[in-house]
């Protein structure tokens, strides 16, 4: 029997929380200088490991969806891809022109995730209306 959407949601959220927790822990350890120098490049990337499983889980969830719902998600991901790309590129050009603060990548990458999921959700709302 295939896992239900709520089970997928729980595991996806769980993996995202594990990744966020690991990111905070690694960041704290790095701040206190507690990371072994030689292993530092490996240790700082540990929070990425749950994200790999996170994406496989999302891909599996999408494959298990009803065919219309899967198409709706694919169209919503296209909306998210375009909107996130346009947002990042627009902000980058404004920053390059000195019109907005030029943040470093390390300061803004958590917000990139936020943009991805906000635009995915907005895409779902827009695309679902087409098939209602």
């Amino acid at each position: 029997m295939r896992p239900t959407t709520s089970r997928y949601t729980r595991s996806v959220l769980g993996l995202a929380m594990v990744s966020a927790g690991l990111a905070l822990a690694v960041s704290a350890l790095d701040h206190w200088g507690a990371l072994p120098t030689g292993l530092r490049p490996v240790v700082v990337l540990i929070p990425v490991v749950p994200l790999v499983f996170f994406f496989f889980r999302i891909a599996r969830w999408l494959r298990d969806l009803d065919e219309l719902e899967r198409m709706i998600h694919h169209e919503a991901i296209l909306v998210q891809f375009g909107a996130t790309g346009i947002l990042v590129m627009s902000y980058g050009m404004l920053a390059k022109a000195g019109l907005v603060p030029d943040f470093r990548v390390s300061q803004v990458f958590p917000f990139l995730w936020l943009a991805i999921f906000v635009f995915w959700s907005l895409g779902l709302v827009v695309v679902r209306r087409k098939y209602r």
Binding site: D66, E67, L68, E69, M71, K130, Y131, R132
Partner: protein, 68 residues
Amino acid sequence: MTNRLRVLRAEHGWSQGDLAERLSVSRQTVNAIETGKYDPSLPLAFAVARLFGMPIEGIFSPEPSPEG
């Protein structure tokens, strides 16, 4: 594409939910097919045809739906 899904479903006395369950899809999918907003995949079209005991072309026809 147009289809006779709503008529056939009514003839069997099934709700959209009943048909969705028999086809292992969501009620939203059945509704979107009936209203011509979504054209089913070939496997789903075959499943519909098998369920009603008819050829695919007896249920689906290539003429554009009135809603486009």
